[in-house]
Symmetry: D2
Subunit: 390 residues, 4 copies
C-alpha cells in the first residue's frame, strides 16, 4: 500500500468508529453492562491507545503521552506494557469524559498524520495491525451496545433495522471429498498471527450446509422440546442452560405466544427467514445434534470456503461456531514484544468461529480468519452452519 | 406552614438537589459503583417520582404520568405501588438520559405549583414527607458520588474541600445520671414514623464523650495494631475485616508512610484534627473497645442531646454509630398505604446512627432522628462518639 | 455443690452426651451438612477439649495434652487459646476417627476424676461452665443431626418420636402492666455472663400469648398466601424468602396436598396441634404481622416468665424468637482471659431466643437465659410466642 | 474371552476395588472433600450400580433391584436411566452405611455369577465396559482419597510409599517425521467409544521428550520466577493462578526452605528425581513455554507411543497433558441407549491426557486411550512430557 492509500485507510477506519458511536449519548458510551462487554468510550480510547503505544511511542520524535493516566486506563491486557485497569471496572470511568476521549482520538490522529506520510515497513505492519484491531472493536462496540440496551426495560433502538433478506433458499448439502489439504494464511495480504503458518491437515469426507440455520429452523427445535431434554446437550451445556434458566436464545422474548427479538433496531417480531444469531456454542451444538448433524471443524469450514460454489451467507450474516477449540497451528510463534500477546495467550477453553457477520466491517474478514469466544458467549453475532459426515 | 412558605420550601429543596448535581457530567450522573449506591440521575428521578406518585396522582385532576415507564424505573422499594426496577441494575439506565430526567423534574415541579397554592392537610403531610425524603437523598447523592469517584484511578474531585476545623478540644466526659426518661418525637414539627411514639425508657448512669473521635485518634488505634488483633473485634467484624482485607478505613490510603484520605475534594493529606468519617459499625465497635469505652445506645445519645451542654459536634460532622439495633419503638405503627413501607420494613440487622453530618442538609436532622445502616456500611459519613459506664 | 455431687453431675452430663451419640454410626458422626452445623464427632471432641484446655491445663500437675493436634482441631473460636481449624472444614476430619475421639473423652474424664475430688472455687466455676457448655452442645448435636438426615433422600430417623401432646389449649392473652422492672440474673445459681448484670428496664403495658403458635396456626398463614405477599415481611426477610425459594418452613414437605414434617423420628404427617418449630426470625416476624401481633422483646418475655401463671410451653417445646437484637446488658463485662470470648464477641446481627425446647437438657435453661441466632437460622428448635400492645 | 476367564477377570477387578478400600475406615469412605471428588463409598456403590443397571436389569430373570433407592443414589450422570443424586451432595450420605454398600456389592456379585457362566455377546460387551469402568474408578478412588487426606491437618497416610525410581535418565529428544498417519483404536481388544473410529491425521515433523518432567525440573521453574511472571502463562491460567493464590503445585508445601510433597504415603520430602505429578493444564503449559517447548497434541503422542523406542515413562508414572481439547474423532458415534452417555457428552472445555499413572490398574491403559479433565484439575496424577517443533 502506498503512503497516501495507507493514510486514507487510516482515516477511513478511524472515522467509521466515530460514526458508529455517533447515535449514542455520553451516558450510553460510559456504562458497562457486564464484565465481558466494554463501554463505547473505552473502545474509543483503547483503539487510540493502541496507536499511541505501539506506533507513536516508537516512531514519534520527542514522544510524550497525551495523558500518562491513559496508559493504564486504556490498556486491555498487555502485561508487557505495564499496569492495566481491571476489565470489570471499565464502566466506573465517568472521567475521562467522552469529550476528553474524543480529544485524545483527535490528538493521536493528528500526530499520526506526520508518520503516515513516510512510513517504513515496520511501522506499516503495526499500523495495519492497529487498523485491523480497530475494526474488531467496531464489531464489539455494536455487540456491547446491543447488550447494554437489552438490559434496559425501555428497549431502546440503536438505529434502523437492516433490510430483511427474503425467504431463504432451501437448505442444501455440499459434499467435500477430504484428503490432505492446507489451511492457514499465506501470501501478501494482512492476517493475524493466529492464522499462520499455513499447514497441511487431513480431512475425512464431509458435507456442509449451503446456508445458515434460520430463526424459523431454531424455533422448530424449541417447539420440539429442545430446551427440555438433556439428550441433545453436552453435559456442561445442560448445566449452563439450567443454571441460567435459558429456554430460548439470549435476545428472544415471548409475547402472547409469539417470538420477538431484541435487535439494534429495538424489539421487533422475530423474522423466521433471517439467520439465527446470538446463540452459545452449547445451543449451537444441541441444535446440531437434534438436527442429526454436527458443527463443522474449522479446517472443514476453511477448506469449503475456499471452494465455495453453492455456499451462501459465509461472511455476511453471522459468525459460525465450529467444533474446534482455539489452539495454535503447528509451528505457531507469537510475535516478539507486547503485540505477541495479541492472540496466543487466549488459546485455551475457547471455540473458533468462522466467517463474519452483519456487524463485521467490509473487507475485514477472510476465509482464514479465526474468531474465538468461550462456549457460553451469546452476545456476539454468532450463528450456526451445519456439517455432516458423508 | 402557610402555603407560600410551603411553596418556597418546596422550591428551595428541589433547587438544592439540582445544585448538588450541577458539578457533575451526564456520565457522572449515570453510573452505579456498587449495588448499595445509586446513580445521581436515579436520585433525581426517584425524588420526583415520589411527588408524582404520592401527591400528583392523588390530588391532580386528570392525572396522567409524565412517562408510564418511570413508574417502574424510579420506584425504589414500594411493593404497594407496583413493580420496581432491580436496585443493582439502576446504573444500566443510560436511557432515559439526564436531560429527560431533568425535564421530568421540571414537569412535576410545574404541576406541583398548582397544588401548592391551596394544599389541604393531607397533602401538606405528604409534601413534607416528600421534601424530607428528598433531603435524605441529597446526602445519599453525595455519599454515592464520593464512592463512585473513589473507584476511579484519576481520583476526581467533586468540589472544594470544606474549611478545616482547627485543633479539636480535649476529649471530655459528661456524666448523665440515668433513670426513667423519655425518648422519641412529640409535638408539632415534622418527624418520621420511626421516631414515634415518644415513650419512657430506663437508663443506667453513663458518660458520653464531649466530641467525636478524630482521624488522629483512630490513626493511633491503627498504629497500636488495632487491625491485627481479634481481641478488639466482634467475631463477625473480624471476619469482615479479614475477608475484605481491610487494614484502615475505606477512604484512607497510605503513601510513603503517611495517610491520605479520599474526599469529595479529591485525595488530600489526612487531617488528624478532623472527626473520623466513613467507618463501619465493626470498626467503630473495635475502636471503642480498644479505647476502653463502648458505643452509646440510641436512648443514651438522645437523652444527652436534649441536655447537650458541653457536647459538641452532635449534628455537624459525622453520624454517630450507636449500639442499638434498628427496631420499632414500643407502640410503633407504620403508616397506612404505600408510605407505610418507608421505614418499618427495614427494622432488622441494621444499626442506628444519630446526629448528622457535614453532608446533611441544614435543618434536616434533630435529636430524635434515627438514621440506620447495616454494620458493614462504610461509605456514609459515619463516625464515632464514645460512651462509658459510670 | 459438694465435691461428690459435683462429680456426679459431671459424669451425668458427660454420659448423656455419649447416650445422645449412641444411635449414630461412625459415618453419621463424621459428616458436616452445612458450615453452620458441626459433626457429632466434633461436638464430642470439642466439649472434651473445653475441660482439657480450661481445667486440666491449669490444675493438673504435669499436664500433657492427650494429643497436641487436638488443641487446634477442637478449638471452636477461642483466639486467645491459639490456632483453630476452620469451621466449614470440620467435616473433612475423618481422622481422628470416632474411636479415638471416644478414647480422648475417656482419658480426660479419667484425669478429671482426680480434680473433682477436691475442687477449689475457681475450678468449680470453670467446671460448671464446661458442663453448661456441654449441655448446649447436646442440643446442637441433635439439631445438627436432624439437618444432616434431612439432606439424605432416605430420610433416616434418629430415634422414636416424642409422644404428641394433645389438642392445644385455646390461645389466650395475658396482660402485663409494665413499668420499671428488673431483668437479668442475680443470686447463687449458675448463669452465663451475658445474663448479667441484673438491671432495671422500663416496659410499656403489653400482652403475651398463653401458648406457642402451632403447626396448624402456621398452615393457616400459608394457606392465606403468607409466603406470596411481601406486605407481611421485613424487606430483608422477603429477599431471603425469594432467594432461598422458601414457601414453607425448612422441614415441611408437601405430599399429595398434605403437609409432612421431617423430624428426628423421620418423615411424619404434620401434627397441627404441636408447636411450630424450625422457623427463621423472618418467618416468625411475618407470621406475627399477619396475625395482627408482634414478637415480644426479651425484657417482656423475661418479665412475664417470672410472673408466669397462665403461660404454658415456656421451656418445653421450642425456643421463642424475640424482637431483641443480641446486645450487652448495661454494665456487661466479659470475663477475663479466653473464656471471656464465650459470649460477648457475638453480640451483633443476632436475635435473642428465650425459653427452651424439647431438645434442651432438663434444668439447663431458666427465665434469664439468652439464646441467640442469626435471623436466617431455621435448623434450631425455634418457634413463636406472640405479643401485642395493650 | 471364554466364560471362565471372564468370570475370573470379573472377580479380580471387583476384588481389587475392595482391596483398595481396605486401609480406610468407614469415616474415610464417607466424606467428600470437594464437588469434583467422590467418597470411596460412593465409588463402591456406583461401580456396583453399573452392573446392576446395565447387566442384571437386562439379563437377570425376575430382576429386582437390591434397593430401589440405590437406583438414584448411585447414578452418576445417566439421564436416560432416571433421576440422580446431585454430585456435590454425595458426601452427605452417611446412610446407607459402608456395611450396607458392601452387602450391595456382595449381592450383585452373587447374582452376576449365574450370568457369567454363559454370557452372550452383548452381555460380554457390557460386562467388559463395566470392568473397565470400575478400573477407572479405582484410580479415582485413590486420587479422591489423597485429596481428602490432604485437607486434614494430621496429613494421614493411605499406605506405603512406592519405591523411588533412581536418578532419571538425561532428557533426550526423539524426532518424528510426521506425514499422514492413523490414530484411534481398531482391532479386537476392548476400547472406549471415544477412541474410535481409527482415522487418518496429518502430522508436521515434531520432537518428543524421552522422559517426563521431574520434580527437580519443575522446582527450577519455580526458582526462576515461573509463578511470578505472566509471560509464561495463558491469560486464563494466570487468572487461575492469582485467584487461587497458587505459587507451587497443589500438593507441594514449603518447610524451612525445602519442598515437601503430600502423597498417599503422607507428607514426605520432595524427591527431585521423581516425575512431577498433580499439575493443572495451565501449569503444564506455562512450564513448557518457560522450557522453550510446548505440550504435544494427542495425535503426536499416540503416534510416538506406537513407535516408542527410546521413550520411557509412557504409562507408568503420570498422565501427560496434551494440547488437544477433548473432541469427537471424525465419524464418532456414541453408543445407543444410556451407555451412549459414557463419553460423548463431556466433549467440551476439557483437555486430553495420555498414557497412564502409578495409580492406573495394570493393563487398563493403551496407546489409544484418551483420559480427559478440565484445565484447572490438579488432583489427578497428571504430569508433563514436552514436545517441540523440528
Amino acid at each position: 500500500m502506498n503512503p497516501s492509500a495507507l493514510a486514507e485507510t487510516y482515516h477511513g477506519v478511524r472515522q467509521r468508529t466515530l460514526a458508529l458511536a455517533s447515535p449514542l449519548s455520553a451516558e450510553d458510551c460510559c456504562v458497562q453492562s457486564m464484565p465481558d462487554a466494554s463501554p463505547t468510550k473505552w473502545h474509543l480510547g483503547h483503539t487510540t491507545w493502541f496507536f499511541e503505544t505501539f506506533v507513536l511511542e516508537r516512531w514519534e520524535p520527542d514522544f510524550k503521552p497525551f495523558d500518562p493516566a491513559f496508559r493504564v486506563l486504556f490498556n486491555s491486557y498487555y502485561n508487557a506494557v505495564g499496569d492495566k485497569h481491571p476489565r470489570p471496572q471499565r464502566g466506573l470511568l465517568t472521567r475521562p469524559g467522552l469529550e476528553r476521549v474524543l480529544a485524545y482520538r483527535a490528538d493521536v490522529d493528528r500526530r499520526m498524520q506526520a508518520l503516515l506520510a513516510a512510513p517504513d515497513g515496520a511501522l506499516t505492519v503495526l499500523l495495519q495491525l492497529g487498523l485491523q484491531h480497530e475494526q474488531q472493536h467496531q464489531e464489539l462496540l455494536l455487540t456491547d451496545i446491543q447488550h447494554l440496551f437489552s438490559r434496559n426495560p425501555l428497549a431502546p433502538a440503536y438505529g434502523e433495522e437492516l433490510p430483511s433478506s427474503g425467504t431463504p433458499p432451501e437448505l442444501g448439502w455440499h459434499v467435500f471429498a477430504g484428503g490432505v489439504t492446507e489451511i492457514g494464511h499465506t501470501g501478501e495480504g494482512f492476517c493475524f498471527d493466529n492464522e499462520t503458518p499455513r499447514h497441511r491437515v487431513f480431512l475425512q469426507p464431509y458435507q456442509l450446509a449451503s446456508r445458515l440455520v434460520t430463526n424459523g429452523d431454531y424455533a422448530a427445535f424449541i417447539a420440539a422440546g429442545g430446551y427440555a431434554d438433556p439428550v441433545f446437550w453436552l453435559a456442561e451445556g445442560w448445566d449452563w442452560r439450567v443454571s441460567q434458566g435459558r429456554t430460548h436464545p439470549l435476545y428472544w422474548r415471548e409475547s402472547n405466544g409469539a417470538w420477538q427479538e431484541f435487535t439494534l433496531a429495538g424489539l421487533v417480531a422475530l423474522n423466521p427467514h433471517l439467520p439465527l444469531k446470538h446463540v452459545s456454542y452449547y445451543e449451537a451444538d444441541a441444535y446440531a445434534r437434534w438436527a442429526d448433524a454436527r458443527l463443522p471443524t474449522e479446517a472443514e469450514w476453511e477448506h469449503a470456503a475456499g471452494n465455495a460454489e453453492g455456499l451462501s451467507q459465509l461472511f455476511t450474516e453471522a459468525w459460525q461456531w465450529t467444533s474446534s477449540s482455539y489452539a495454535p497451528y503447528p509451528g505457531f510463534r507469537a510475535g516478539a514484544g507486547a503485540v505477541g500477546e495479541y492472540n496466543g495467550k487466549f488459546m485455551v477453553n475457547q471455540y473458533v468461529l468462522r466467517g463474519g457477520s452483519r456487524a463485521t466491517p467490509a473487507g475485514h474478514s477472510r476465509p482464514t480468519y479465526r474468531n474465538f469466544f468461550p462456549a457460553a458467549a451469546c452476545w456476539q453475532f454468532s450463528g450456526i452452519r451445519l456439517a455432516r459426515d458423508v
